[in-house]
């Protein structure tokens, strides 16, 4: 891994460790500079009250020039939130993780954005093309070119 990404991640990690995560977000695991896990819940009134989700960040040497690969973890213990922009395999259709990514954004900024995406959800539904997408989806959501129709949902 080249210096930019590891220097940035080291800096972000030390910030998280000294200042803590934003409320509702907890660092679960950041043993290396390739994969980090967070738990995320929505505090206050929302459709996801009492639900806790797990987020996975995958970084490569192009971080932070290009976005990290971010998705919800789907396995026996944890599921993806039912949301119009979250596929049942955990992939997320959010422009901030694609075309609207800015290198000044950070891991906690992404967590906060996803938190507010869930908080503002008005009806718990899967994306309309969920089944088709999930069937052919690549392992890494960054390989998908999402079409960001409406990010405000």
């Amino acid at each position: 891994m080249t210096s930019i990404s590891s220097r940035r991640l080291r800096k972000e990690l030390s910030e998280i460790q000294t200042e803590g995560c934003p409320t509702g977000i907890t660092l679960l695991n950041a043993d290396n500079f390739e994969t980090w896990y967070f738990s995320i819940e929505i505090l206050g009134e929302s459709l996801y009250q009492g639900e806790v989700f797990k987020l996975m960040f995958r970084f490569d040497s192009s971080y932070p020039i290009s976005a990290p690969a971010v998705q919800f973890v789907v396995n026996q213990e944890s599921t993806a939130p039912v949301h119009p922009h979250v596929y049942s395999n955990g992939h997320i259709c959010a422009s901030i993780l694609g075309t609207e990514w800015s290198p000044v954004l950070s891991v906690s900024a992404v967590c906060v954005t996803l938190q507010s995406m869930l908080a503002s959800c008005k009806s718990k539904e899967r994306p309309v093309d969920n089944d088709r997408y999930v069937r052919y989806a690549p392992d890494n959501p960054k390989k998908t070119r999402f079409h960001y129709d409406d990010d405000t949902v």
Partner: protein
């Protein structure tokens, strides 16, 4: 050979007969050869066209750059802005000069902001119109991007590398180190194929000008070969070509020619003709749908439909669906060859019902019929299955033939290369001249063209309705 983007009327010079050709004296090129034996062979350019051929012209990348530069010059002189700005404005309006001029005259600052040329605050305030910054979900935390007095030690907010000394910013003053800018520009161009490169600050809609990109790459770019810059120029040309219905980029990998074909630029023209064109490197493709071959006799929409059908694995999936199932215990694939529904997996000896996939033991005494599916749902399911099988067999009949020709076309590229070798040999070993041995090459080419046409007739047959015409058609095909 004449330059491919020469618009001059040199066609006349080539219209004359054989004598002229031979007197040209220089080594004969393909064009000249085709010219000489024009009788039955299709000639790429500069020659009398056949009725089924379409007038077109190949342009090199530089020629297209000249065309777009003319538009940029035009706009920069009207608006009194520099070329970089004019280019951004034109790209924002998809190279529609008339609309740009109209909009710009109406409200220059709002167009400038929307094109990422200036920031809303700097432009003379335009009260109307939506905010140009695209929102991407509500974000609570705003990032640290307050301009820091340059005198203080300043750390780039992207890489946090305090050894960096050169900082760059667009007119928005969002400063980042030269290393980050270069990495960002390179990644946008090389990985994302993006020519409109926005400021790295979150939510800033300013777009980097061509001059900023070019000078940053030249000064700090790590690749000495200039490939990123080359790619950037290509992206600009592609954008210009994509916006112009008269132009098409050659679909062959790594080819940089553009073909101009005004008579095939309308959608409606494609229902009555197949605009097969060739670029300056002699790549043949369809101007209408960019299929990289000559797909006559079927029109573009049919060719597209057929290729999509072939690409979609759905047909194959259908086959697997109607002919095989997986053992629900060990997942091995089981092919059913008709008859009874009582299946026994060869591998794990699991006994189940073919119709409902349930364990056979639950079927009690209903020996060879599944009583769960004797209801309407079961009948429908079987009907659907046999319908899909019939349609599949019909498709496979045509597809196999089409694919055979596709396969042999690939092999004949080898054949073509061998022929060229053979020609050289013949020239040495026989008394035939280079011109005389050209017949071999043309024979191979002609065989290829016939094969291409025959190939596409199978796609055509697939879509033809059953009936007399089709039988006649298939008789001809044999």
């Amino acid at each position: 050979m004449s330059s491919d983007y020469d618009y001059s009327d040199d066609e006349d010079a080539f219209y004359d007969d054989d004598e002229d050709m031979i007197s040209t004296g220089s080594a004969p090129s393909d064009d000249d050869m085709d010219m000489e034996f024009a009788d039955d062979f299709k000639v790429p350019q500069h020659s009398p066209r056949k009725a089924y051929e379409i007038e077109h012209e190949s342009l090199s990348q530089q020629a297209v750059e000249k065309l777009s530069a003319a538009d940029v010059d035009h706009i920069s002189s009207i608006f009194g802005v520099d070329d970089s700005t004019a280019s951004l404005l034109l790209r924002h309006m998809n190279w529609n000069k008339e609309r740009l001029i109209e909009k710009y005259m109406d409200n220059a600052s709002s167009v400038s902001v929307a094109a990422g040329v200036s920031t809303p605050s700097r432009a003379s305030p335009s009260v109307t119109g939506p905010a140009p910054i695209r929102s991407s979900g509500s974000r609570r935390r705003t990032t640290r991007q307050t301009p820091v007095p340059k005198a203080e030690p300043w750390v780039c907010p992207i890489c946090f590398d305090d050894s960096q000394t050169s900082f760059l910013s667009l007119s928005c003053d969002h400063s980042f180190c030269a290393g980050c800018w270069t990495a960002y520009i390179t990644s946008k161009i090389r990985e994302e194929g993006e020519h409109a490169i926005r400021c790295m600050a979150e939510g800033c809609a300013l777009v980097a000008s061509d001059s900023f990109i070019v000078s940053t790459l030249a000064k700090y770019g790590e690749d000495g070969d200039g490939r990123t810059q080359e790619r950037f120029q290509e992206l600009l040309v592609r954008h210009f070509v994509g916006a112009n219905p008269h132009l098409k980029y050659c679909p062959y990998p790594s080819c940089t020619y553009t073909v101009s074909c005004p008579s095939a630029s309308s959608r409606s023209s494609l229902t009555t003709m197949v605009p097969t064109v060739s670029c300056g490197a002699n790549h043949k493709f369809c101007f209408g749908c960019s299929v990289d071959s000559d797909h006559r006799p079927v029109i573009c929409s049919v060719a597209k439909m057929w290729l999509k059908k072939c690409r979609d694995d759905s047909e194959t999936a259908n086959w697997i669906k109607s002919n095989t199932k997986e053992c629900s215990k060990c997942q091995s694939t089981i092919e059913k060859n008709g008859g009874c529904n009582h299946m026994t997996c060869k591998k794990c000896k699991y006994e189940f019902c073919w119709v409902c996939m349930g364990p056979w033991s639950e079927h009690g005494t209903a020996w060879y019929s599944c009583n769960r599916y004797d209801e309407k749902a079961g009948v429908d399911a079987r009907d659907a299955q046999s319908r899909s099988r019939a349609s599949l067999e019909r498709y496979l009949h045509y597809y196999n033939r089409w694919a055979n020709h596709e396969q042999s076309a690939k092999l004949s590229v080898e054949m073509y290369n061998k022929t060229e070798k053979k020609m050289e040999e013949m020239q040495i070993t026989s008394s035939l001249t280079w011109i005389e041995v050209q017949f071999m090459k043309r024979a191979v080419e002609e065989a290829e063209r016939c094969r291409a046409t025959l190939k596409w007739t199978y796609a055509m047959a697939f879509y033809l309705d059953k009936g007399n015409e089709k039988e006649l058609f298939e008789d001809n095909q044999r």
